[in-house]
Homo-oligomer: 233 residues x 2
């Protein structure tokens, strides 16, 4: 092993991202979507959120155990919400046909770059892979969240994970600047819409969350319980 | 964008990995562990399984909702099993203090490399990051698995994910060449040891799995149900 390691600066990464955005716009690689539109993604491409937000959902699975006939999925079961992808972050569907990418907010813009093009801007391939490494670490925390504890803790834990990534700090705490439906929240923790509605009410009553008139959620920071400490460490 | 893309060949990757292994052994960077020993991992390092297997577990969380006093975790609740890391694969704990790495089998060997050293063998940094990208995709499937369907489907789904990655094909199907305790399986899907014991019995009775005398599990391939098709696509 030899050489001296010089990690890229935030400025390096920002400049490369700008270069990519400019190239993408000039070459018709940036597409705009209205809210809740399913994106037409292909294997072999990496997609980047240029504006807005994309949610990755898993198709509801039909049951197979103990029967050769697929069982109908109950109506209250939400498709799983596997990730929310914010500005500058990449996503890919790979060959995983169960995944579905949907624009989460109005005027979401998505850039597409073929994997064979990633290395054409020096350093950019590593930026993208580092972003996936970061997402992998986030995903671990969410997997840890949904495989432990009571559903109400999983729900609050998920909101804290989101707040950590997307929350805007104000005097009252961390505010999530986008809306998630109860069905989407249910899909993130493997619960049902009805249960999430009930538990959100309970969390609000306990002062664990605040729900604004536009249905966005805030997490007050005053309370320092073990879960909060763990998630905001 | 310019240039011609030449992806690394499997042989390139293998040679770099050998180079790293040789260097690690010469420089005291390879450590051997008995079974079920907690590894002493530090932030800023990437670890590689050179032999055997490592499991990553999440610390059981104490509940915090609606009380300022931590609630005791019920005894039957397993720590979450977040990943099984096989030979050649990297893992890291990052700054995530909830994660714990443990040797899963006897004579597990682990190589450690500081993040600042990854770029010293040209191409190796990208190999490692590509491995994390791959793990991220696997993790998505597991998150999709545990946030949908009945517990018995989640259990079988998890076994199929493992079989896909670690299974050895024989005339009867896919054989998982290592043992997972019922508690570990429970930790992977967020269930309890007792439930897993009952459901494994049910799956065996239905012919969905086979359990050998040494407690290893095999999945017969004869049955082609929607779940199997989805997981083995």
């Amino acid at each position: 092993m030899y050489g001296v390691y010089t990690p890229p600066t935030v400025e390096d990464i920002r400049l490369r991202w700008q270069q990519i955005c400019t190239w993408a716009k000039q070459n018709g690689r940036c597409q705009r979507y209205q809210k809740d539109v399913e994106l037409d993604c292909e294997s072999g491409w990496i997609y980047f959120v240029h504006r807005g937000m994309v949610r990755l959902q898993g198709q509801p699975r039909t049951s197979s155990v103990g029967t050769s006939i697929a069982i109908e999925v109950p109506k209250d079961v939400a498709p799983s919400l596997l990730a929310l992808v914010g500005v500058g972050q990449p996503f890919e569907l790979g060959r995983e046909q169960y995944l579905q990418a949907t624009s989460h907010v109005h005027n979401t813009e998505v850039i597409r770059i073929h994997v064979s093009e990633l290395s054409f801007v020096p350093g950019f391939e590593i930026d993208v892979l580092q972003a996936f490494r970061y997402q992998h670490q986030r995903q671990m925390r969410q997997l840890n969240n949904v495989t432990q504890g009571r559903v109400i803790d999983q729900l609050l834990g998920y909101l804290y994970l989101l707040a950590e990534e997307f929350g805007k700090a104000d005097s009252k705490g961390l505010h999530l600047p986008f809306v998630l439906t109860h069905s989407q929240l249910a899909g993130a923790i493997g619960s049902t819409r009805g249960t999430v509605t009930r538990l959100l009410g309970e969390l609000r009553k306990n002062g664990e969350i605040k729900i604004a008139g536009d249905n966005t959620i805030s997490l007050p920071l005053r309370k320092k319980s073990p879960l909060h400490l763990q998630l905001l460490e």
